[in-house]
Amino acid sequence: MIANIAVFIFFLGFLSEIKSDKPILRGINPQKAQLYISKNDKFTCFDGKKVIKYSQLNDDFCDCADGSDEPGTSACVNGRFYCINAGFKPIIIPSSRVNDGVCDCCDASDEYFSNAKCINNCIELGSADRIREKQQAELLKSGNQVRLEMAQKGKKKKEEQKIRMSELEKAREQAEQLKEEKYKIKDDAEILENAALDVYKQADEEEKKQKMELESEANRNEAEETFRKFDSNANGKMEIIELQTRIMFDKDRNGVVEVEEARYFLDENDELDLEGFVTLAWPRIKPFLMLDSGLFKAPKKEGDEHIDDEDDESIDAAGDEPIEEAELLNEDEEHHHGDDDADYDEEAEGQQEDQPEPPQPQYDEETQRLIHLANEARNQYDVTDREFREIDRELSDIRNALEKDFGPEEEFAPLNGECFSFEDREYVYKLCPFDKAVQQPRNGGAETRLGTWDSWKGSDYRQMLYANGAGCWNGPSRSAIVELECGLDTRILSVSEPNRCEYFYKMQTPAACSTTRLEIHDEL
């Protein structure tokens, strides 16, 4: 014990020597000061691999592989210099920053032999730092108040949602039952209705088939006529050069019908005979002819009807395929339609599809009655079905919300469902927390999705990740990271794109004003 006190007293004296700028003791970390006490005028490198003369400490030559003999010079590549920075915080810098002409320590102790004119501004820095810390603490305190309120709201909301969920689960069961009952009634009515209508339908189809054959023949005639017209040299072959003279085939509108363009219309052949032309080339050529003569709109409508009415196979290829573009469009629409309704029962969807009303033939009385009954049953079913689906939707919304991580105390929950905007020179950036991040050009134009809520990055609730945004040209899909800091209100502070298609939002919110978290941060 006594020995310890003696060492301690010596140590205190030693510390004051460090501060006294004695060259041999420069740059020493007080926590390691004991190791620098002279033992028989020797110093042992920290790694124990070498013993050197005490005078070789801080003599501007690196003797210890671990850099321990030169804490106060730049001699060792792996050395560490300790600035006391009295009045501010001490820092440890790499030895390479000692006497390099740059003031790194506020007490100027690192530039004792250089051209740099450093002034000791630790006192000023210290007081500014304390003011900043105080402000920070105050902000945190009031922010934390708001955060606690938000947490309260969040928790309350969660409770409410749980209650609502169990209510809905019951209601769903009842609605489903009702819906099934009505379905059965509808089904029965439709069986009777269909049997009655079948008679009329067969007659109708016969008529349509005839009409189509006529159309197909007309189409073929038109194709043959075009062939004769385009076959300038009348050799019975349609050649690339013959198409190149017709500017309507200039797909890319660069003023020239290139060989590739002409080949496209010949279904990638160099030439085609009449039959080939009719089956392969005509479907490609016809829309352009129509376009050329301003006829494009009408056939599109016609095509629509065909597709809705009939199976594709039943259509004579030569007759109806030219409407490729329209057809594609239509398919697309259907696709979207399907997407939007992804939540719906497939069964329900099949039933719900509105049958296009063909020109109504005159039905007999009994048939009309059956139709009326079936309509009634359908209406009733639709009502119950809609109710069921509404419940279902609300339920899945709640389930989704309950699955999201709104923070350890639900403090981020009130942000769910809100959206915030930030404008820079070119874009408006929007962030709907826990939903999506988007970008829109200021001068109008389509919204681009930068990402959809994915997860928290890390465990400290400081960074949100929005992933799987719109794909980047020649690159990955966009994504956004949102970094949160404490602030008295919630708003976006800045948005940048440090990497192509990787966005970075800075956002402040009271929800990030956790006092416990700051303490952890400070220790790091």
Binding site: D59, D60, F61, D63, S74, A75, V77, P94, S96, R97, D100, G101, V102, S114, R425, N474, G475, S496, E497, P498, N499, R500
Partner: protein, 918 residues
């Protein structure tokens, strides 16, 4: 920076390779087609008897083409330093033909000649050299010490298309002139003789055919090399069956490797080397040029031709080159060596030596297209410090400008450029910004208005301002050939004009081929018109260099003549080394591109341009960690060391990779910094001697045929052998240790990391871990280093030196160290120290090489590592010039090395010595 990129990419389907269709083949180029059609054999050209005129330093004689009776004049002169120069021009051309300016650094010095002639030949003797001009057919043979080294037109491929009037339309319209008896001159049987179309671009060719072509044979050579820039091996390959090597400055998007296609620069210097002689041909012509290579075995296997040679059964035809240029005159320098370094020196004697850069310029550069704003720059800089990775220069690509208007800043992203630069310079760092030659056509842009008002733009064939498409959209191009415009351009760099720059700002001249996105082959129309009425066709390859002349002048004047400018250029030509460093353009993050960085820089180095480097990491694409650190390791031992990346790539600052990768990269960059004193000395010596910094093995080992074609290893000066790891997953690397005499006698080598001694001739398979960069110091050399690595090179200026003394078989070594203020031109007024170190008989001594040069420095000698001595001394004694002696400790004794601890002598001490005591 990058290539035509987005604009064009949107037109091309995204494939990751060059679109060859954008660029001509020889067959698609009318004059190349015409010149290549000339068959070897008897040449129609002959000297007209009795036209010889003899002067003190030169002769003239008339040459006639027997097929059309057109007459030319030959002028042949002897130059100091074992060179000849000859010109062939039309005797009375319809109008003057273009002669290249600005390639030579000054008028050469002429040498007196002795001339004798017979009815069949004229002999010109100058010292040990001799030229024999044969009258019919015309041919010149060059001899050194009575050995035939090079001959001209010995294959009879000479073709000189004289200027002529355009034939009347009726004759011209006839298709397929074949069989037409009405005597059409040969060039005109080619449909492209009077106009040419390529990909929708029309070349009106108002002067018609004007090509010049000539063949050169290298009688003593086993290998031909030079004529950069191509992404190809150092050794030139036979072009039989393929396209000739093309010299036409072009912006080639995603260029292809192992290709003779043209790239960003053109230096028409070719060398032939064999054990007996090294000779060079400098074909001074700035027009589009193609070079056919023959006499190299078809397998392009130099080894096998060497074996044949050794066995005395060499192929019948010695290697030869056939130069074909679209216009100008025949203007050729014949460099007679006789060894590689002498030939390199002859070339730089003509075109100038690279100038000593500031120290920061040879340290590490950090670039990206683009660092987005001031915060981005500040953060990247802070991260380098946080991870303790030294870095000297931050770079800004085109996005810093306001709407791609150079000499302006985008103030939204960069509101305080000068302050940003000051933040950098506070830590000794620099900023380099891009300034391209294209000028945005924008009536609110002063530069555009000035150029429009004063007629400074290059004109199209109708005399209107030529308008192309580049980064800013519609753009025009200043005509840097006009001295007035160059002065205007240089003035723009002055701080009075470019207020938001500093005297320290580095300049990056990119896109200066020039790149024109919507032009033929992504460049300018050949019938555009320049100052003096010359067509762009005549001067194309020189355009970028003329921009550099202006930039260099501007930067010198910007600092009142005090600071050495730092300029990086993409386009280059003969003489570019006088103004700027060159990088190899838009490479890709692929192992093959890493490998290609060495042959490309070797070819540039022997062509005068030593300050060369490749984008570290690869410009296009994303390198994985291994490729990234291997590339940094390779870059650390190349003259220009810059990380750079395309805007579409992932960020790749070292700390964004896993920790183990970052640490290896950090180690490589720090190693570069430890050798900066050596690099700086090499750059200084390069300015003095013109010898390359990065040298092919044959420069030091001209007798070792196995070393001729090596281009995966090289020498730095004559001291270090560098063989970076450039294969994925490599755990071993083959290093070739060359022979001094062509047989088994070699040098001693020491691994720079552990001083392991290697005494062998031939391949050694060396084990490599991730940190290993196989580099070897040659026994007999002394290399200066600094081992205190700071944040930037500038901050290391006063730090002490370490000398690595690696002894040869006689236990001797020599080396040099150059010290100055590392930034100003004051060294040219004798403010420097140039030290010579010698180790001999156990004594290391230092003396001034230039006695009158003086420089005040705080630097001192921190340690001396003696490598390769068998006996370890007990102590050492330092004797300084004031006759004081100090005992020094010997420490860190290892198997092949020991350290003399802290001599502490000032580097200013003009004669000190350290004696080893046993």
């Amino acid at each position: 920076m990058r290539s035509i990129s987005i604009v064009l990419l949107m037109l091309i389907v995204s494939t990751f390779a060059v679109d060859k269709n954008n660029f001509k083949t020889c067959e698609q180029s009318s004059f190349c087609r015409r010149c290549r059609k000339v068959q070897p054999g008897s040449s129609p050209y002959e000297i007209i008897p009795n036209t010889l005129n003899t002067y003190a330093n030169h002769i003239t004689a008339d040459i006639r083409n027997n097929e059309n009776q057109h007459v030319f004049v030959l002028k042949l002169e002897a130059l100091k330093g074992n060179m000849f120069h000859f010109e062939i021009d039309e005797k009375s051309p319809l109008k003057p033909r273009y002669r290249v300016t600005d390639a030579l650094q000054k008028e050469p010095t002429y040498e007196s000649i002795k001339v004798s002639s017979t009815s069949s030949e004229i002999t010109i003797i100058s010292g040990r050299n001799k030229a024999v001009v044969f009258l019919s057919p015309f041919k010149i043979e060059f001899f050194q010490d009575e050995t035939l080294v090079t001959s001209v037109n010995s294959r009879g491929l000479m073709n000189f298309e004289h200027l002529r009037k355009k034939p009347e339309p009726p004759a011209g319209e006839q298709e397929g002139a074949e069989g037409d008896e009405s005597k059409i001159d040969p060039p005109e049987d080619d449909p492209g003789a009077w106009e040419e179309n390529f990909k929708g671009h029309h070349d009106s060719k108002p002067n018609g055919p004007s090509a010049v072509a000539l063949d050169f044979t290298f009688h003593q050579a086993n290998i031909l090399f030079g004529i950069p820039e191509h992404a190809d091996s150092f050794a030139l390959k036979s072009t039989n069956g393929g396209d000739p090597y093309r010299l036409y400055n072009l912006d080639v998007f995603e260029y292809e490797l192992q290709s003779t296609m043209a790239l960003y620069g053109s230096v028409p210097i070719i060398y032939g080397h064999g054990a007996g002689a090294t000779t060079g041909i400098f074909w001074q012509n700035a027009a589009e040029t193609w070079v056919d290579i023959a006499g190299i075995s078809a397998e392009q296997n130099v080894m096998s031709s060497i074996v044949n040679f050794v066995a005395g059964s060499r192929q019948s035809d010695p290697p030869s080159a056939h130069f074909m240029s679209e216009s100008g005159i025949i203007d050729t320098f014949v460099l007679l060596g006789s060894n590689p370094n002498e030939a390199f020196h002859q070339y730089t004697d003509l075109t100038g030596n690279g100038k000593l850069p500031q120290m920061f310029a040879i340290a590490y550069h950090q670039c990206r297209w683009n660092y987005n704003d001031e915060q981005d720059v500040a953060q990247v800089v802070a991260k380098f410090d946080e991870h303790d990775i030294p870095m000297d220069t931050m770079w800004l690509d085109i996005e810093y400008t306001e709407g791609k208007k150079y000499f302006t800043w985008d103030h939204t992203k960069f509101p305080h450029p000068v302050e940003m630069m000051k933040n950098l310079s506070d830590v000794g760092r620099h900023l380099t910004i891009i300034i391209d030659p294209h000028i945005k056509r924008d009536s609110s842009y002063f530069f555009h208005n000035d150029c429009t008002d004063k007629g400074y733009y290059i004109k199209n064939k109708d005399g209107k301002d030529y308008e192309g498409w580049c980064w800013p959209g519609a753009a025009s191009y200043p005509d840097f050939f006009n001295p007035e415009i160059r002065k205007y351009y240089a003035d723009q760099y002055l701080l009075d004009n470019f207020k938001e720059s500093t005297i320290e700002t580095g300049i990056w001249n990119d896109m200066n081929e020039p790149s024109v996105f919507n032009g033929p082959e992504i460049t300018m129309l050949k019938d555009n018109l320049h100052y003096g009425g010359w067509e762009h066709r005549d001067v194309h390859n020189l355009y970028g260099q003329m921009q550099l002349v202006g930039t260099y002048d501007g930067l010198v004047r910007r600092s009142g003549g005090s600071l050495r400018p730092f300029i990086l250029t993409r386009a280059h030509f003969a003489g570019t080394q006088r103004y700027a460093g060159v990088w190899t353009g838009d490479n890709a993050a692929e192992w093959s591109h890493l490998e290609m960085s060495i042959p490309m820089c070797l070819s540039l180095s022997v062509s005068g341009i030593s300050f060369c480097g490749a984008d570290v990491g690869g410009f296009f694409g994303n390198p994985d960690g291994e490729l990234f650190y291997r590339w940094n390791q390779a870059g650390a031992f190349q003259p220009f060391f810059r990380g750079h990346a395309h805007i579409d790539t992932k960020r790749r600052e070292p700390w964004l990779f896993p920790e183990d990768v970052k640490l290896v990269v950090r180690d490589a960059i720090r190693k570069r910094y430890s050798y900066l004193a050596f690099w700086y000395t090499m750059f200084y010596e390069h300015e003095r001697s013109g010898l390359p910094i990065m040298r092919p093995m044959l420069s030091q080992y001209p007798l070792d045929k196995n070393a001729y074609a090596l281009d995966d290893q090289y020498m730095l000066s004559d001291k270090l052998l560098v063989r970076p790891v450039m294969q994925k997953g490599a755990s071993k690397v083959d290093v070739y240790f060359p022979s001094k005499n062509g047989e088994k006698q070699g040098d001693i080598w020491y691994d720079i990391d552990d001083y392991r001694k290697i005494e062998r001739v031939g391949v050694e398979s060396v084990s490599v871990n991730s940190y290993k960069i196989p580099v070897y110091q040659r026994g007999g050399t002394i290399i200066p280093k600094k081992e205190r690595i700071r944040r930037s090179a500038v901050l290391m200026q006063d730090d002490p030196f370490t000398l690595i003394v690696a002894v040869d078989e006689n236990n001797t070594a020599k080396g040099t160290l150059y010290i100055d203020d590392e930034k100003t031109f004051e060294y040219r007024q004798g403010k420097y120290l140039y030290l010579d170190f010698e180790f001999k008989d156990g004594v290391l001594s230092s003396r001034y090489i230039d006695e009158t040069a003086k420089f005040s420095t705080k630097t001192w000698l921190e340690r001396v590592v003696i490598v390769g001595l068998n006996k370890t001394p007990t102590s050492a004694t330092l004797r300084t010039s004031d006759n004081k002696s100090t005992q020094l400790e010997i420490i860190d004794v290892k198997k092949t090395s020991f350290v003399i601890r802290k001599p502490g002598v000032s580097m200013m001490d003009n004669t000190w010595s350290i004696t080893l005591n046993y």
